[in-house]
Symmetry: C2
Subunit: 322 residues, 2 copies
């Protein structure tokens, strides 16, 4: 049985062989190669291939679409890094830091169109449903990013608001990856919808895990500075849960968040999170969404054997350290 | 016979009735409505409708695609205005000036996906060629914008470089509009290619006219401050032709371009352009590309009558004052 890492390795190899125009257009395309060569989990394209293989032994036919989903993901990173003023991405300079903001905008736009082109290389029979799923997903992702930015100015963000935001910003893309792979594999529309649900729920579990790692992860493996969310006053799952708790610590966290960014602030908030047992609370939420992902998976027409790599992927992602 | 202004009026009405999500997503979609409500010539969507009607009485079926092309055009304006730091667009604040840069980036991204969605609403039979034409065009437009930005740093830009740049940045979009309209109308691929050539050549004539208007236009009708290209040291058709001329004025223009931005600079360079008879030179170039547009049009299988509104459009655009 092939597992997720086989598919992600396949995509890694494909991306390494991707050639883009150069010459006097290098200024447009080089940042794209740079962005795609930074590694990463290749979660979205791996999911496309794995779903295509599960439903129709169609991993080979799904390669272009898989590259398209990874290209889309990286496009959002280029633009998000501009919007968030993030200078670092996967341990290297972000595109706007290495080149400039205009380059990140324009090469990002180019990646969105290249992504659409790749996704559109699916067989005619599934072109329309795949394209619809891709475009709908893209709108959800922008909506999620807009909500996320708006959250910065709001002090009444609820956990429900947060879940909606990450459903859009993170969940929709994993959902679309699983759905598009399934469609290419010839899945029925019911099965494709269940796979989208699997991806969405996996995305929620994944994002909460990410929020947890941002506080309790290991700096040497996480790839980003620990405590970044605390220092940026990010409305994370931990912050919203802590502030929403009916405890003395809720007020203390709210007060501590007013401190200037720095190690002291991170230390104080982390200590309060520990007293609130936030690790257990995150674990429970991750468990909740993982179970929903697995329930959707079990409702598909896939055999136990075909489902196994998807089950293992949930385990792998929710137990990860980076 | 319906003429261009009938089609542009039709699109204007359609755009007025376009509804986008609101509520807590207004921050994403309101700037899009704002951008689309600013008027403009509606050249690209008008061309889509006119071509669909000419080849297959299909203006009604081409409405969504026409909106898609206008949406794409406006997406590029949002991002270009950020890259060029333009605060004004069609006599109003540009989106990044009215909101902020992040909004212009993210709502612009949203417009690109909405544009793709609209364009994809064509009948299944032409979905693939229409989508291919749209995506190829989009890449040309980004390449044109990249070249245009790179020109700012170069002092060896030739007229050939300039023509390639505007073929991408302006011509490709007009070409794709005519091609996509023709495809929706059921045109053969030969006819669709000839219509793309018509649009491309019309685009070149249009852009050179635009460069001329930027210097010799009437401030009250042009919508932008006269002399903007001179003050921004833009490598326009006029500047490159003047500098490339074997005359004493060539050196004088190059020297004058080193002056600080302001009325004096505009006045001096304009005087030199007049001595170089730049209006006549622009007119000749516009005539050259207009003729090529009309030659492509005559090579199509369209009847004289069906060709007439396209001929009139060339006349109208190359004789325009705004």
């Amino acid at each position: 049985m092939k597992k997720f890492s086989d598919y992600s390795a396949q995509i890694e190899a494909t991306l390494r062989n991707l050639t883009l125009p150069g010459g006097d257009l290098a200024g447009l395309y080089e940042p794209i190669s740079y962005s795609l060569s930074a590694g990463g989990k290749r979660l979205r394209p791996g999911l496309v291939l794995m779903a295509a293989e599960a439903f129709g032994n169609a991993a080979a036919q799904a390669e272009d679409a898989a590259v398209g989903l990874e290209m889309f993901h990286n496009f959002t990173l280029l633009h998000d890094d501009v919007m968030d003023r993030s200078e670092l991405r996967r341990g290297r300079q972000s595109v706007h830091a290495r080149w400039d903001v205009n380059t990140a905008i324009l090469s990002g736009d180019t990646m969105l169109t290249l992504a659409t082109q790749c996704v559109a290389k699916v067989p005619d029979a599934v072109l329309r449903p795949v394209l619809d799923a891709f475009n709908d997903m893209a709108l959800r992702v922008y909506e999620g990013q807009r909500l996320d930015m708006d959250f910065e100015q709001r002090d009444n963000v609820s956990i429900a608001d947060y879940l909606r935001m990450i459903s859009c910003k993170t969940g929709a893309l994993l959902g679309a990856s699983a759905r598009i792979g399934a469609l290419i594999g010839g899945a029925s529309s019911d099965d494709a919808a269940l796979m989208a649900e699997y991806g969405l729920m996996l995305g929620l579990a994944f994002q909460i895990q990410d929020d947890w790692l941002d506080v309790f992860g290991d700096a040497s493996t996480f790839g980003k500075p620990i405590g970044g969310d605390i220092n940026n006053n990010k409305k994370s799952y931990l912050l919203l849960t802590a502030i929403g708790s009916d405890t003395p610590e809720a007020t203390a966290v709210a007060e501590a968040m007013k401190l200037p960014a720095g190690d002291t602030k991170v230390k104080i908030v982390t200590r309060l999170y520990e007293r609130l047992d936030m690790s257990a609370k995150c674990r429970a939420a991750i468990q909740h969404y993982s179970s929903k992902a697995l329930a959707a998976l079990r409702s598909t027409s896939l055999s136990d054997e075909a489902r196994e790599p998807f089950r293992l992927l949930v385990e792998k992602l929710t137990g990860r350290k980076k």
